[in-house]
Amino acid sequence: MNAIVVSAFMGILMMFTGAFVKNRAVPRYLAIAGAILLFLANAIELKQGQPLFHINIYDMLKTSSYSLGFLAVMIGCLILLFLLSGEDIERVGHDVGEYFALIFFVMCGVAICATFNTLLFLFLGIEILSIPLYILTGSNKRNLLSIEAALKYFLMGSFSTGLLLMGIAMVYGGTPNASFYIASIDVGNTATSPFIIIGLILMLVAISFKVSAAPFHFWAPDVYDGAPTVFTSFMSTIVKVAGFLAFIRLFENSFGAIHKDWQKLIVVITIATLFIGNITAIFQQSVKRMLAYSSIAQAGFMMLALFALNDRAKEGMVLYAAAYSIAAIGLFGIVSRMNEFTISDFNGLGKTHPVVAFTATIFLLSLTGIPLTAGFQSKLYMLTSVVENSNQVWLVIVAVIFSAISAYYYFRVIQAMYFKEPNTEDPVELWNINGWFKSVLILLAILTIIIGIYPEWILGWLYYW
């Protein structure tokens, strides 16, 4: 509740800053301060166990220390994104204040997705999260690809919203006493009305679309590729993870009793996502597009949490959110400072920019899941949860094989950075690599290592109360 109010307030404040403050650097500093304020407000709610604002909301929003802890991870990632890539947001276009305002509105949707307890709030959260993203995708108006991506995202997104609404309507009609509360949908295996099953399938499709799981991923590569890189970084990490949180909350509380029945659907979606994401990423020449496909592949891994849906899976989801978001924010941060994104542009980066290349290597290793990095721990938690849930070892083996395949395209970038000579006649210029940028990159790398060695550091907060 705190995070919802503070992020909405910050959004409005940023809007007015954009209108009245001429200095272009002010919105960025204000946004960083606002993100920290958001983090503190959320931490206070986690600490006190109740929001600062006492409003009777008839239990329509329900917080637990898990959801607040997850939200804290996402807001922490937002702070890191602002620190690392704040200047890139300024470079996108003229309306700097408005971009930050839209990002804060998205965070409001993220906070609703983390705490909703009725289908009404689920819909509001997902819509508040989506609509500003359509705008941010198309914010680079001089680039035709960006506009095309925005239109594509908007049309497909509206369609999936329609499916979500239809699913909600079906479920609403199927509950015994027509209730919006997600817990009242869970009526046990025998009493489940056919309408609830249809609603389940439609909502599964709609939210799979939002988290870009195959076969509902067709928008993702073009949108992630066309959007300004810094906004790609935002929506492929924080927003996607928020989609997973909504996914887990809804399906655990509403359809937990019939988990065994829809588990089969999740298996199909997981394997399809892993397959399409990993195999297509191999053939990409542009690093940005490769990261877009790898983001689909990582979504496949996160779907495993939905398959298992036990305590370890929920812990693993938080770890995965932190590990994946930090690594992807770092990599996208580096990519957004480059003019061209092909793999050959990374040639010899180890010699020309040693710090950037070293941190990028750590992020890529974390995304692959090499031990000592956060990516390893999170993948370990996910796979353990699958075994604990149902002993489906074959699914674990499939996931590990795809993880090994992902090493190919991640390591190709590392190879280009360290074992290829820099391009002498047409050197790649990295825009504005200053001490600040480097130190934030090092901070991100240190966080990756810390979470990899000592994951309890984050997990402890999930059981604060």
């Binding site: 919802i4 909405a8 959004g11 409005i12 809007m15 409003i55 909301i57 008839y58 329509m60 929003l61 276009g93 003229h94 309306d95 408005e98 971009y99 305002a101 839209l102 509105f105 409001c108 609703i112 009404l120 709030f121 509001l124 819509e127 508040i128 609509i131 500003p132 359509y134 705008i135 198309g138 914010s139 108006k141 001089r142 009305s193 056919p194 309408f195 099953i197 249809i198 399938i201």
Partner: protein
């Protein structure tokens, strides 16, 4: 058969029939006009369920605002026979198959549900504007206020998108 049942069946056939006409008519303007007929038929259903406010809002928002928007878009896009994109038969087949499967699932659900509750008409007062307003501003006040963030972000977005660079 009472007058209400007759009205119910008439409106239902009107809605389904005009939905089919909307889908199969070649001219996009005709499609939109059929869509308006659907909205009026659905508004009629709302009136039958004693939800007058919803009926009026449905007409004002959908038949009024949204339809005008659709018409504008269709006119701006200047759709005619020359600019019509080439139809892909394979895609059409896939669309028919997947849409048919969804229809199958929906139909099977309807068949499975025991229809022991007949359609109830003109009962209950939930749809009246007084009760609706009371619920909206007491029980549902937080979602109602939060939806303003949705509209605010859409407004900011519209300004960002349409402003001259």
């Amino acid at each position: 058969m009472s007058i209400i049942s007759i009205l119910f069946y008439f409106l239902s056939f009107l809605a389904v029939g005009s939905a089919i006409m909307m889908l199969i008519s070649k001219n996009p303007i005709h499609s939109i006009l059929w869509l308006i007929v659907i909205f009026f038929a659905i508004s009629g259903h709302y009136v039958l369920m004693n939800a007058q406010f919803l009926a009026i809002v449905n007409i004002i928002v959908y038949a009024g605002a949204i339809m005008v928007l659709f018409l504008f878009v269709v006119m701006l896009m200047n759709l005619n026979a020359e600019t019509e994109p080439v139809k892909n038969h394979r895609l059409q087949l896939i669309g028919v198959v997947s849409g048919g499967l969804l229809l199958l699932v929906l139909l099977s659900a309807v068949m499975k549900t025991k229809a022991n509750l007949p359609v109830q008409m003109v009962v209950g007062e939930e749809g009246l504007i007084q009760n609706l307003g009371k619920t909206l501003f007491t029980y549902y006040v937080v979602p109602f206020e939060l939806s303003s963030i949705l509209f605010l972000s859409a407004m900011v977005g519209a300004v960002v998108i349409s402003k001259k660079d």
